[in-house]
Assembly symmetry: C2
Amino acid sequence: MSKVITPKDKDYSQWYNDIVIKAGLADHSAVKGCMVIKPYGYAIWERMQAVLDGMFKETGHVNAYFPLFIPKSFFAKEAAHVEGFAKECAVVTHYRLKNSPDGGLVVDEDAKLEEELIVRPTSETIIWNTYKGWIQSYRDLPLLINQWANVVRWEMRTRLFLRTAEFLWQEGHTAHATRQEAVEEAERMLNVYADFAEKFMSVPVIKGTKTASERFAGALETYCIEAMMLDGKALQAGTSHFLGQNFAKAFDVKFLNKEGKSELVWATSWGVSTRLIGALIMSHSDDEGLVLPPLLAPIQVVIIPVFRDEEQLGKITEVVSVLKKNLVADGIRTKYDTDDNRSPGWKFAEYELKGVPVRIAIGPRDLEKGTVEIYRRDKREKQFVPMEGLEAYIKKMLEEIQHDLFKKAETFRTDHSHKADTYAEFKELLDKGNFVWAHWDGTSETEEKIKEETKATIRCIPLNNKLEEGKCVYSGKPSTQRVIFAKAY
Amino acid sequence: MSKVITPKDKDYSQWYNDIVIKAGLADHSAVKGCMVIKPYGYAIWERMQAVLDGMFKETGHVNAYFPLFIPKSFFAKEAAHVEGFAKECAVVTHYRLKNSPDGGLVVDEDAKLEEELIVRPTSETIIWNTYKGWIQSYRDLPLLINQWANVVRWEMRTRLFLRTAEFLWQEGHTAHATRQEAVEEAERMLNVYADFAEKFMSVPVIKGTKTASERFAGALETYCIEAMMLDGKALQAGTSHFLGQNFAKAFDVKFLNKEGKSELVWATSWGVSTRLIGALIMSHSDDEGLVLPPLLAPIQVVIIPVFRDEEQLGKITEVVSVLKKNLVADGIRTKYDTDDNRSPGWKFAEYELKGVPVRIAIGPRDLEKGTVEIYRRDKREKQFVPMEGLEAYIKKMLEEIQHDLFKKAETFRTDHSHKADTYAEFKELLDKGNFVWAHWDGTSETEEKIKEETKATIRCIPLNNKLEEGKCVYSGKPSTQRVIFAKAY
């Protein structure tokens, strides 16, 4: 039987696509650049949403919903923002179709909008236009709001989960009375993202700030978490922006402070998207398919009966019912797959591909011996374990998998992180797929030239970075700290 | 102090709008016809989503996500569907803006789409086009998928929650091997909706089928639940459609059955939307504002401290901490509002307006006496209750409120439901705001004429309707059953 998945070392890009498609995570759609998120992929997103939503609420945020459409003129109000976002976007120009003489459907030219509407690429403008009506006094602040939504950014070259014209995300938009509060909020949410990535996705991340040229359009500071994928490239997994008073100025949002004076409001915004599923895939998977950290796995344990007839299945089911009940009572997402349209072999391969952390197989001989066969997906290890005390054993195993995946990813990143002090060394390390810690002279010119020559960008200036005298790896000019360069998704 | 809310009997429509705006449920947006769902309104939607999502999953459904955009040509494939949906819609024609010479932004005519994209008004077409690739054999059926999404239907006359250009909803789309299975599915989901309305929203509903002229565009049968609002009008609160093989035909979706023969797939779709929030408001609220059934209330119990200084607040908080902990442990959504920017009087009015089912006030004298003041929102009754055993008391009170709201709404509906046997009687009853049970000759012509003359429509032919010989209230022709006529939202 030929391999279902193209080996990673043979063709990394194809390996990724194979996993997305064959594990049933997503599909290309009939609409250029848009994907269909299939039930299994969506179930992972639901887990991510549930955890993140809980973390947002614990930090005092509430959800709301703002319009999908943004009047074109809104974008023109914040100069940097329009350059960054309004260009490549879906534009609604009409609101009606009519029958054409040949029997088809055509746009009704009588139904042209006075002002075109943009399908939101991000919602700062429509939200700050709304906040104007909600904020009068210091009593109305802070406003800590998040939105779960779809957004559209017209992309010509798309990749499932990583870059699509439409994607799902959350966008937090907060309003504050002081600069300090807003900065603290932006940093708080960066930490929430980092915690989520490391504790739930088992993906180690580096927290840092973006250089001026990589900043969010309209931000004074962009904080980010950067993760290393299995090809040594970087993936920006989440960003949190300190927006200063830029949007308050653009939309004239002021408040009366406790002294009765009118002041402009301070802002942040922060977001993560279905891109995280791409990051998850490229952090842990192997040539057999997806590998999922238990905390985000839609199915944590799958139980597969191996039987020849109904009688055998009946006996197995008797035992499994109790086991499953106990596992579920322990909060473990367990599936007992009794589908008799599929063979055990087909199921083994399917759940391997789908990255279910733990697989249990039970046949008549296991019943006799009082054992089950347990397969641990990440290590691809099989073992026979007594039925007695199985629940505790599995619970511990899930915790170990969660922990081991993180450690493995961390080791991989360490092995692929190096300092470079010469440009030759720098380029070689980048080509081999590494995070390269190098001195940089702090100018956008150097950054731009390095990008042209190597396709690498400064991923971030790490927070609490060690200061160290040095010379820019490109220009030789003096520098006070190393920053992280890498090729990126 | 003047009333915040326009009295219902003075101006029903203004009463509704006042509640939506002043209870902080939603706001008009800068985009014509689109609303902003404010945090408190969205929190109600989140409760609805959580409950419904659980019910969908219990009945075997999974979630997925399909593109926002639908190619124009897809609509043309199902003839009835295009008539019903593709006309009043948002049309994306371009994918780029550019700077204009005068410094503004204009649509880039070089970036015109080859085929226009429609912002989904409903997703049957894009989903069935996708299902074609997912369904090959009977093993792939049934496919039981739901999507939580935003949709757009261009509406000229909009009302917050009830009719807006963009709204949030869920749409289930299932595929089956047999006609019977599909019909059973459509009926199963109708029952899920009815259970949700009655048990969680405390809104009694009538289950029935639509007449041919009120059917979903492309359906063979549309099942619906109809609720009565406080002005005696009907609101369609949810629909479930048996689509036959119409979409399978349009998108060529066939499967190999167990005998290896190719057959067309059978379909259903079903949905409820943020319109349910409108139904909730118009089922229970009063002239003081919103009244919420406890099971959907974001805050079930609010505790307000009444104090003169920090010392008093400290003592109150000591007691409340324990109370709140116990309530939360019982699964009761409890808020302790210590905001010192607002007075107790302001808070009382605010939570009254927001329909929080139970309000507890505690001051220094209550501490001395070991009692609290409890206010029950639906009955507007105040009482003093001993601290001892308070948790159990409140739990019981919440259950009573949930039950009493349903009974009250049911009584209201009974009082506003009447049989009519003459057209004069029929028209008078409709004008006064009633569900009118009347004989109908079964023709679309009669239905249309009654609609023209009275603005009333046939809300549904109730399921398991009692058969009864009679004469059509309009044409005098023979009829075998009464159907429900009403003016509707």
